[in-house]
Symmetry: C2
Subunit: 312 residues, 2 copies
Amino acid sequence: MLTALAGGVGAAKFLSGLVAVVDPASVTAIVNTADDDEFHGLRISPDLDSVTYTLAGAQNVAQGWGLAGETFATMDALDRYGVPTWFRLGDRDIATHLFRTQALAAGAPLSEVTARIAAAWGLATRLLPVTDDPLATRITVRRADGREETLRMQEWFVKERSESPVVAVGFAGAETATPGPGVLEAIAGAETVIVCPSNPVISIGPILAVPGVREALVARRDRVVGVSPIIAGAPVKGPADRLMDPLGIEVSCVGVARAYADFCSTLVIDSRDASRVAEVEAAGVRAVVADTLMTDSRIAAALARETLASVA
Amino acid sequence: MLTALAGGVGAAKFLSGLVAVVDPASVTAIVNTADDDEFHGLRISPDLDSVTYTLAGAQNVAQGWGLAGETFATMDALDRYGVPTWFRLGDRDIATHLFRTQALAAGAPLSEVTARIAAAWGLATRLLPVTDDPLATRITVRRADGREETLRMQEWFVKERSESPVVAVGFAGAETATPGPGVLEAIAGAETVIVCPSNPVISIGPILAVPGVREALVARRDRVVGVSPIIAGAPVKGPADRLMDPLGIEVSCVGVARAYADFCSTLVIDSRDASRVAEVEAAGVRAVVADTLMTDSRIAAALARETLASVA
């Protein structure tokens, strides 16, 4: 049994490579929920949906989020009503949100709703929200006039295109959140725990912030392997650099190694970062060099294979 | 000022004729809300939306409901989740339902939400839900095995295609519902009150069932004129015959006249029913003969003009 800590797009790509080389039913993904939000009364879970849609082969590859062949008739029609439509929900995607919103309103926990959505997409892989409790990334930015403002993750990321300079990141609800059903067991019982190439601050960070999760990982440190989401000093996609740097995390595989060192024994870094092996290892993390830029499914599968081999 | 009691499609056609011959801003439509329901967590108001979309010129004329050029991507995608999708919501229509559902959840009464939707569609005509309180048509049918079952209106009408034989009709909530803001005033203050050609049992019936409304109409009887929705013994569209007959209302303009006689002084009947003028008048209702089959906007406008002239 394998367990993976997952954010959105990067994790989804890695997981699709992983399930190509191992039995998909042997994989449990513990997924970040701190990007979740509500728009137009609909409960959205961007990372859970990215992983679900990608594992189902239904994702929009070019766009990096949502479903392939998606249409936006509802969003276009919502413009008429003068409500904010900067967070674009596709028509087919809305079906997922309607289903989730109604199931949650009926009292089902997110973990159960997630399992039903995954089943509806025919996934054999188990997806576990890191928590069924409220957990929300809050990003404090500095405005041009020096004033600080705290934004919801999607406000900063989508509405403000990650442009507003970050001064702090917090996870509302983290103190009282409890790990979702099966989360700690999946870490404790896994042969290997993989930290997918996801944003260390706002994808992996919230998972670690749920009390008990980091401790569970520390206890399995020898069997925890990460894949650096930073290649040659830059994220493959997304705003990791704009979050790591202000928080004092070097935007490099070395910075990732230092951030993960207490719970992660091994880090897969990109071949473009081969010169930094010694620095990674100086952080107490064994470095393994591989091609981590998953430009196609063959590379993703090879990366998954090498990641598993690195702690074999 | 003119006030109209309105159900869905027939009323919407009539009203579009009316606003072609009088100032749209002089018209108030009191609209049935007892067909309202909730699907996938979305609050739908079929009659309010039919009137809104039709007055905005955006309705699907061929289909008789919903928006022209509508797509159904969300509904098709919902099928995956195993939820009932027999009530088809179009993608653009869903925007209206999302807006309404969220506004209601935020505490706005339906009357206020309706005004915002009408404004968004640029309507000058005032649309008033008959009540802001819960009001729901319940249709009791007899099953093949003799057993009786009570259905929500949309279950009977859409899911069961009006095929199950009706034994009774009720309006849940009617006893405690109060007329919406402006409803009684619109009846009391109108120069003329028009009962649109809508289903007497489940479109006009619930409006009359809200305490105070029928009394307000009775007080204005001389200025109340109805348009028969029954032509030559059959409804133009919809299941009026399947509801009137089991409830002992003759499926004819004469049956309509008898049902409306206590609050309606004049009934416009179709030229195909000219032979029944004496029977209508025997019910105490003055009969006016006109072409009531609104196959195009010109006929709808002419009917509106003749309806107004009938009580001039």
